[in-house]
């Protein structure tokens, strides 16, 4: 009797062990295709940006690099792009809500690989890297500047002026302060707005052109920030070449299997950058004291009205704007946010559009549960994964960690 009980217990224990830690049985044909789909080697070449004629210009990259790290690009002299997009933190800032001059409403995402995205910002309210780069410069809680202020900085700083004119041609006659006041813009507060409104429309257009060129230079720099090969990518490379690889093991392999199968992750996090760059409502909770975020629905209205969009007068080719022209306007945009890349997640915590989740585990628990959305409709369905499966998924996600495939000199402030 006792032997029988002992044997039963032993068999049960082994069965339980195999259930929780199933051995890796190899990949099916379909699974191999899914794995190859998220492999970095499958990434298409850096897409052209016809709306930015200096997108790949070497001098524009240098100018953009300087602008990106320059604290003078703010009203207070305390904020640059790198304040919230810090290279050592995956070009994010480690905060739930970013802090520049004031606190922003959203979490600063990492910016590597964004050249592949047709939409920028969580709500996609910008449709190019260069148009995006302009927005924080004039936001009162971010850089707090105005386009006239930035124009005068470029004009009065000799190295900037020389570099700018080399890339874009001569600056406007900014010495004439009656035509070009020292500060102001259409988004500035009372005084700056009044100064802007008093300007000749042709002069306004000249300043807008100059301002958009600064965005184009910053975009040229940001296009250099591309993901490097991670342990997962080396695993796939070896798997394709020899049919086997030791790069991933145990929990990581089980996590990969879940990722491409029952956890449904690749529905949105598909392709080599693990994002479809599209908008999804996944039912994140609003922050205390805040209303739920309308997300893409409001973002779409903003990008359509943006003077710096693909179709606008400052676009270098307004005939190639399919993304904007055919942008989806369905009800599912309410509360929807852009799916972020899952590469280098360890660098970019906290997670969620308002930094709702401190850890990856919290994110995964949220998707496992898929609770009701406060606004709109949660697209995700509950996964009902076991706790150890959630641990496996996290283990896999952390194998997507890799230094950027970018010359290290670009990741530091430039020598000036």
């Amino acid at each position: 009797m006792r032997i029988f009980l002992t044997l039963t217990a032993l068999v049960a224990a082994i069965a339980l062990w195999w259930w929780i830690f199933p051995p890796h049985p190899g990949w099916s044909e379909d699974e191999l295709v899914s794995i190859q789909n998220i492999w970095l080697e499958s990434l298409p070449a850096l897409p052209d940006d016809p709306t930015n004629s200096v997108a790949d210009d070497a001098d524009a990259q240098i100018l953009g690099h300087r602008l990106f790290f320059d604290l003078r690009m703010s009203a207070t002299g305390t904020t640059s792009c790198a304040t919230c997009h810090q290279p050592q933190r995956g070009f994010s800032d480690g905060l739930a809500l970013s802090v520049a001059i004031g606190q922003t409403k959203r979490n600063a995402p990492g910016i590597a690989g964004l050249a592949w995205s047709p939409w920028l910002y969580w709500d996609g309210r910008k449709d190019s890297l260069w148009a995006q780069a302009l927005s924080p410069l004039e936001d009162a809680v971010e850089h707090g500047g105005s386009r006239l202020m930035f124009a005068h900085l470029i004009h009065t700083d000799e190295p900037y002026r020389a570099l700018y004119e080399k890339v874009f041609g001569p600056l406007p006659a900014l010495d004439d302060r009656s035509r070009f006041p020292i500060a102001g813009g259409p988004l500035a507060s009372d005084e700056g707005r009044a100064a802007w409104d008093a300007m000749d429309p042709d002069d306004q257009r000249e300043i807008n052109r100059l301002f958009s060129n600064l965005g184009k230079a910053i975009a040229a720099y940001e296009r250099l920030l591309v993901h490097g090969s991670s342990r997962f990518d080396r695993y796939v490379a070896e798997l394709m070449e020899t049919g086997d690889s030791e790069q991933l093991a145990g929990s990581e392999l089980r996590g990969l299997r879940l990722f491409i199968n029952e956890a449904n992750c690749t529905q949105c996090h598909n392709g080599p950058l693990l994002t479809n760059n599209a908008f999804h409502n996944t039912g994140l909770l609003s922050l205390p004291g805040k209303l739920p975020d309308i997300g893409r629905s409001a973002g779409l209205r903003k990008v359509r009205d943006d003077e710096f969009n693909c179709l606008g007068p400052y676009s270098d080719n307004p005939t190639v704007c399919d993304e904007l022209v055919y942008a989806g306007s369905g009800k599912e945009n309410v509360g929807a946010m852009k799916a972020p890349s899952l590469r280098n997640l360890a660098d970019t915590q906290p997670y969620g559009h308002a930094g709702q989740f401190a850890t990856l585990g919290e994110v995964l628990d949220h998707y496992n549960e898929a609770p009701d959305a406060m606004i709109g409709h949660n697209e995700a369905k509950p996964l009902d994964l076991w706790p150890w499966q959630v641990v496996d998924l996290e283990a896999f996600l952390l194998t997507l960690q890799a230094p950027l495939a970018t010359d290290p000199s670009w990741l530091e402030p430039p020598d000036q």
Binding site: L291, G328, V334
Partner: protein, 337 residues
């Protein structure tokens, strides 16, 4: 001897377990929140729907700090920060200025207070707990209020038609904090739970599984080659549509065009038709990520559909609404990516 008895108990234990979890589940969906609709808010297919005149809106309240994602139709379990979300179900309401007021329920009518009782109060300002002035919101109307104390309140949503000055009002009494379980509904839940246990433990289960398998089979996409969908007949049979993707093979996350070939019943090409296209993933409850359009007629019943993009793998449907000579009809194209 002992083992045998243990084995004997297994089906019983299974049923007990299932019964227990069913009851837990039913209790969780039938107790506060869903169970407590009254006044101007009615439950329709598990939604809390509010009628503002003839306009309808989906109405929910959240207390994210205390109960996270839990939805309430009216009565709130506790005090504190509460987010009221009004989502418009009816086209039109998003064009009207809508205001939102919460007053202390001093009508003496409790949960049966109606529009007349509120009107009888006269000046609402003296009993107002919260007021949000009229706004026109294209998507949804959300407000946040922190209830300091429990009590009885009345929510008042008003929409004013700008042309006719007609006033549409919805009034719903609700309580904040400290309310009990809804015993009649729990009783119904217990009965339903027992029925469910019977269903699970009897032959119904295998019958149900067969039906489910049959349904799944019928829902499978009909096309093998996703880049070309041949000869789909529209719902009322007026048209036949063949669709050919301009990219082969089909790919996700890529903007592309399709050519639609439209024929009538007799196989003649349909020209000068008005065609609009929508679509989505039925299994995921969402539409296309883009708004594709017919941009050109290519002759002989061929039309160029531009701006198509699929952003997920899985089963997609495109709904092609064709209107030629006053006969609107929709062809549903299914494809698997």
């Amino acid at each position: 001897m002992r083992e045998r008895r243990f084995l004997h108990t297994i089906p019983w234990m299974q049923q007990l377990f299932i019964a227990f979890f069913y009851l837990l589940y039913l209790a969780s969906i039938l107790t506060p929140g869903y169970a407590s609709a009254h006044g101007g808010v009615v439950l329709e297919d598990d939604l809390c729907v509010i009628n503002v005149g003839f306009y309808q809106a989906h109405f929910t309240i959240f207390q994210p700090i205390n109960t996270q994602h839990e939805q309430f139709c009216e009565d709130l379990p506790g005090t504190g920060e509460s987010v009221f979300v009004l989502e418009y179900l009816h086209d039109g309401l998003e064009q009207l200025p809508v205001d939102f007021r919460i007053i202390r329920n001093v009508t003496g009518m409790g949960l049966f207070a109606g529009v007349n009782d509120v009107e009888a109060l006269g000046d609402l300002d003296v009993v107002t707990e919260f007021y949000h002035p009229p706004v026109t919101e294209p998507d949804a109307f959300a407000v946040l209020h922190e209830f300091a104390e429990p009590g009885a309140f009345i929510g008042i949503v008003t929409a004013v038609h700008p042309d006719t000055d007609t006033l549409y009002t919805a009034v719903f009494p609700f309580e904040v904090g400290a309310f009990g379980l809804n015993y009649p509904l729990i009783a119904v839940g217990v009965v339903l739970g027992l029925l469910a246990v019977l269903a699970v433990s009897s032959r119904w289960r295998s019958g149900g599984a067969t039906v489910a398998t049959l349904c799944a089979g019928l829902l499978l996409p009909m096309t093998a080659d996703a880049a070309e969908i041949e000869d789909v007949v529209s719902a009322d049979g007026y048209y036949r549509v063949t669709a050919i993707s301009r990219i082969h093979p089909l790919a996700i996350n890529q903007m592309h065009a399709w050519e639609l070939q439209v024929f009538d019943r007799s196989g003649q090409p349909v020209i000068n038709a008005n065609i609009s296209v929508s679509g989505g993933m039925p299994a995921h409850d969402h539409g296309l990520p883009t708004d594709p359009r017919i941009t050109r007629e290519l002759g002989e019943g061929r039309y160029l559909l531009e701006g198509v993009k699929f952003h997920m793998r899985g089963a997609w449907e495109l709904y092609v609404l064709i209107d030629a000579t006053g006969r609107p009809d929709t062809a549903t194209l299914s494809l698997e990516l």
